[in-house]
């Protein structure tokens, strides 16, 4: 029988009256690489914390690998590996010692530990760094070691909470490859959270888009993007005529949808390149001034926008400016 790796029903988490997770129902299959995509503060990490027994839900139920998260906490803990959002290594120990400690905590004997340490270090290419203290590891190396550690005790399900947060574009690519490799080679079910669209798109077989504690869409990245249409045309205009222009454009029968945000009109159409002249012409006739026009294939960002009326990047605070910069660098690289 095909049991689910994770199943939740009506999972709710409230902190002092604030609802962080608001009735989440999830079914994640065994062996799946599943993504929770949403802005910071959407409730992704809170879902992970509940599923990894770090916090108890306010209400609702969940099973991890068939074990109830309330009643069988130790069985849940034995079935999972967790890579936390923030660093969680002992910086005074070497990479190998951190893994050794982990193995003992999970009841692995010396032979098992030695064999497994060699395997997981090899998987993340850290074999030659095994005896270096964690405090001398770079951020990317530390992340890789944490991923190796999460896999060390052969968990059925591996949780990765923002696995590439704050890493540079190149390191991020490498981490992605490791995640794909271990999902394929070790057959481990992977559940990751991210607020990077590219990450969810590149890695995940299915993605749940989360906003304000609820799942607003759940499907494969391809199906989600198909909802949007073939091409996205963005018109940058003055604030005051956004709505008017949106209405004018939506009169075209070949336009599948029109969204307006701040000072832009976002249009999804098939064969976008041949529609641009018509759109621009119509706007000019209506007496509206277009500042710029751009076109791209749909991304999960557009899907998020469609379902929530917001851009994920609007949530980025000033403090996350560096991350946004990395993100936009990546964007330029890909297109």
């Amino acid at each position: 029988m095909d049991l689910a790796a994770i199943s939740t029903s009506g999972l709710i988490m409230k902190f002092n009256g604030f609802t962080a997770v608001d009735g989440v129902d999830l079914q994640i299959g065994r062996g799946e690489l599943f993504g929770l995509l949403g802005p910071n503060g959407a409730g992704k990490s809170t879902i992970i914390k509940m599923l990894t027994t770090m916090i108890r839900p306010t209400s609702g139920g969940a099973q991890v690998w068939g074990h109830d998260i309330y009643l069988e906490r130790d069985a849940v803990r034995s079935s999972i590996g967790v890579v936390f959002q923030d660093p969680s290594v002992d910086s005074q120990l070497s990479g190998k010692e951190n893994l050794d400690f982990h193995g003992r905590m999970y009841g692995m004997n010396k032979n098992m530990r030695q064999r497994r340490i060699a395997e997981v270090l090899d998987l993340v290419d850290l074999t030659d760094k095994a005896d270096i203290l964690m405090e001398d590891y770079s951020g990317g190396m530390q992340r890789r070691l944490e991923i190796a550690r999460g896999l060390m005790h052969h968990p059925h399900v591996l949780f990765l909470d923002e696995p590439t947060l704050g890493l540079d574009a190149q390191t991020r690519r490498h981490i992605w490859d490791y995640i794909l490799k271990m999902n394929r080679e070790e057959g481990v079910t992977v559940i990751l959270t991210t607020h990077y669209m590219e990450e969810a798109d590149y890695l995940c077989e299915r993605v749940a888009i989360i906003d304000q504690g609820s799942i607003v869409a759940l499907d494969t990245p391809e199906n989600l993007k198909d909802l949007i249409g073939a091409d996205i045309i963005t018109l940058n205009v003055d604030d005051d005529c956004v709505d008017e222009l949106g209405e004018v454009i939506s009169e075209f029968i070949w336009v599948s949808s029109v969204d307006t945000v701040e000072n832009a009109v976002i249009i999804s159409v098939d064969h976008g390149e041949s529609r641009i002249p018509d759109i621009v012409l119509r706007a000019c006739r209506a007496g509206m001034k277009i500042k710029s026009v751009s076109m791209h294939e749909p991304t999960l960002e557009d899907v998020f926008l469609r379902f929530t009326g917001k851009k994920i990047r609007e949530f980025e605070s000033e403090g996350a400016g560096k991350m946004a910069a990395v993100q936009s660098r990546m964007r330029t690289r890909r297109h």
Binding site: K49, T52, T53, M54, I55, D74, A75, R77, S78, I80, V82, F84, D86, P87, S88, V89, D90, S91, Q92, L93, E97, F101, H102, R104, M105, Y106, G107, R149
Partner: protein, 256 residues
Amino acid sequence: MTRINLYAIYSLWLREMVRFFRLKSRVVGSLAPPFFFLAFLGLGFKSAVTPGIPEGLDYIDFLAPGIIGMTLLFSSTFAGLSVLWDREFGFLREIMVAPVSRLSIVIGRTAGGVTTAMMQGLIILVPGIIMGLNINGISGFLLSLLFMVLIGTTFNSIGLAFASKMKDMSGFSLVMNFMVFPIFLLSGALFPVENLPDWLRPLSYLDPLTYGVDGLRGSLVGISYFPLAFDLLILTLTCFIALVIGAYLFEKSDID
């Protein structure tokens, strides 16, 4: 799953050992204050007549067990409070999501903290002997080890209890300055408790370290204020209560 997981306890203990031998500068730093207390007070009061010290007992014989008690107090409280560091640097989460009972985690941490505290106490014994401390035979020495375990466990648990209640590291210096220092100064480590004024003495009798220092003095140099069995009884009781409270508060504390 069993409540007590020996392998995990060993793992936690081993981690403390590795860290202890790796962080030599920290060990040297933590041994410096007791060493200076011992050296300067020992030399400075060598020929002074300190009232309350029994006839025929050198001040160094009186002082050295007190300083060993001080070393254990500081290092084991510090070890208990070090949960704060693990929380700050995220390692606590790694420990807490492992399929290991909270009780095993407390036992493993305590075993590690007490072992490192005892090693430091024994290191301080060496300059004491060099300065003229006369140890009262091997059985006395072995008995003093028992007192060291009890002192270490008591204050490790108290440190753990405080750390479980604190959100961040800002409370650390409060605990050190307003709890640990008074406990040290009231314990009779430097001068006999009976020299304190009447109104202050009851506080000394509430201080668990008073019985620890008295017990160390009784077992190491053979002279104590209370009967050794009484010291042992009081300290064992306090140790047990502290351990239960520490384990309970740790169990209830937030992981995140």
